[in-house]
Subunit: 374 residues, 2 copies
């Protein structure tokens, strides 16, 4: 039954290109002459065009949020939440997910062809921000004929984009779902990102971003990913999953992994480099670090034009995007009289919880979406 459903429901990545006579203005002031956005859709857009939901992806994910590509062994990265009868019910809603600008999964980014130089951008790619990602998504949404999204939803960096949507395009969304996210990166969040970037840039193969026809800086990128993984798990989830289990019984000469947790991190780091571009990692983490809706003022000021209803979800053991950041968002929304539902889900999974705790999130989101007035 499951297999049949898989075969009947292959999804494909589609591409939107900015019309040739237009350019795309970035927050930095730079104009991009070409803009391509990779995206996927699930379900059908209704005649009123008011059942569309945009899912924004976290740091290392992409447009392939659900279902199977023909060659896939595993479904998209949030398949437990998107599909018939699921939280984002594809029998009711038209779901869109696009790869962020600056990414490396089909949207314009540092590994794209630079029409000016005739080779990949590398570090000639301009600095991008969360606002730029959202502006690119707005181009796609308009192209798809959608004036107003029923909802925009994301976890982690996806949540930043969802928040930015509510601030940049208050008239274009009915609701916003911000999960395990923040309104600005803290010093600690910047610090973890920076160490990842330093690990990449310390790799001689990085070659100041100019490596596309050579060896990739995979050693550095792998270390960056390993750092990330520790921050995505909680003290307790690591303890429960690995504890002090040894891969072998004796001392590990030569510093090969001898604890299970070491082997796991190395495996995750080495897998990651096969699917992600090191320069994208630099650009996208930097976009997160620049993200700051507060800008030294009261956060409630930034939210004063918001028109959408909100659902804010945090997770008890998420120490990378701690609950206090979500609560600050909720408070600033409430101060503007915005209709906001907040829930801290009790979970041991740390930041990864937003990808894993599907049952409680499904209940919350289903109910939330049911009650949005269009």
């Amino acid at each position: 039954m499951k297999k049949e459903s898989k075969e009947n429901n292959f999804v494909e990545t589609k591409y939107y290109n900015l019309p040739k006579d237009e350019f795309f203005s970035l927050e930095s002031g730079v104009n991009l002459k070409e803009l391509k956005i990779a995206y996927e859709t699930y379900g059908k857009l209704n005649k009123s065009c008011n059942n569309a939901i945009l899912i924004c992806h976290p740091l290392t994910a992409d447009a392939h949020v659900a279902g199977y590509h023909k060659a896939d062994k595993k479904p998209g990265w949030w398949d437990n939440m998107i599909g018939p009868g699921k939280a984002f019910d594809t029998k009711k809603f038209f779901i869109i997910c696009s790869n962020v600008i600056g990414g490396c999964k089909g949207s314009t980014g540092p590994n794209s062809f630079n029409p000016v130089t005739g080779k990949a951008y590398g570090l000639n790619f301009p600095v991008i921000t969360i606002k730029d990602m959202v502006n690119a998504q707005e181009k796609l949404i308009s192209f798809l004929g959608i004036k107003k999204l029923l909802s925009v939803c994301g976890g982690s960096m996806g949540g930043m984009q969802a928040l930015q949507w509510s601030v940049s395009y208050p008239e274009r969304i009915f609701s916003c779902i911000a999960i395990a996210t923040t309104y600005k990166h803290s010093a600690q969040q910047i610090a973890f990102d920076e160490v990842g970037r330093q690990a990449i840039m310390a790799d001689p193969a990085w070659n100041r971003g100019d490596y596309y026809r050579r060896k990739n800086p995979s050693a550095g990128l792998s270390v960056a990913r390993m750092i990330g993984h520790i921050t995505y798990m909680s003290y307790n989830s690591m303890e429960k999953k690995f504890g002090r289990i040894l891969k072998k019984d004796d001392f590990g000469y030569g510093f090969s992994p001898d604890f299970e947790v070491e082997g796991y991190l190395k495996y995750r780091g080495d897998s990651f480099v096969k699917r992600f571009d090191a320069n994208s990692y630099l650009y996208v983490t930097k976009a997160m670090d620049y993200f700051d809706l507060q800008k030294g003022e009261k956060l409630s000021n930034a939210f004063k034009n918001i028109k959408s209803k909100f659902l804010v979800i945090a997770f008890s053991s998420d120490w990378l995007y701690p609950t206090v950041q979500s609560k600050t968002i909720v408070k600033a929304l409430k101060m503007n009289g915005i209709d906001v539902t907040f829930c801290e889900i009790s979970s041991n999974y740390g930041h990864d919880a937003f990808l894993l705790e599907s049952e409680e999130q499904t209940n919350l989101i289903k109910h939330f979406l049911k009650n949005i007035k269009k």
Copy 2:
């Protein structure tokens, strides 16, 4: 006044060498034919030889715990705690601190001359453990004519050594002070260490540990240190010290540090590589990861032969060595009827608090040392 005191009190590092006809047995079964221990002392050993206190150093510190060397601009690493009238009052006590075996500050370690090969050990240096560090210290203590230490004290990895002393040599210490430490490394603690090691080993200059006559793996070691620094601070101390302060006002092209916290981490990483050996970082972090007094049994079993009085100190914002680990130690000691004082000091400094919160620690330690029955 301060300057005069500095000039009158220069300290020097001394060296103990294992007698030529002896060898030093490691926990791994390997015998070292040579063993040198760098150490410093402060104050005077009394005639009864019962006023000696051993300070055990954390990961990247060394024997120079207090006072000034002739060329020093800054005093030893715990000078706020050791000296006349301080917590460890050198008018009353004879203080000893030695560099751990496996270290790079004068004691035998991977950068030492290997008599077998005629060049530096590198990865031919055997695996070492916290127990090996303590066994080496015991040789030094015996050489100094001390049968029983008034106290053994340490923070972080120093605390592991102090605990190991109480287990390995219950008859040789009157008391033990374990600060911001654990009885075994958790999966998360192992994970952070492992990412640091991977950063070093990802540096091509590391050359499988054989770099002593070439370029050092400073890029990798710097990244390892940066990771460490994040874990030594708390979310709040980073936020207070750096927040989102920018080094410059515009976007940071080329990914040079543009937030203050990035510049700080880079500076600390780059300073560290001038004073520390990358192979030592591998060996000493691995010794911490192997540390496990519990060994799959009840921790109270490991403590059943302990005879010393205990002071256990934790810090409220220390998430690297969280209070729960100290409480587990206290509980296991109490179950053996051991006289233990426990205090969680309220601090924003994270794990670094043991180096910074001198006032409260001084009060606790002074009182504790006053009441030890010899």
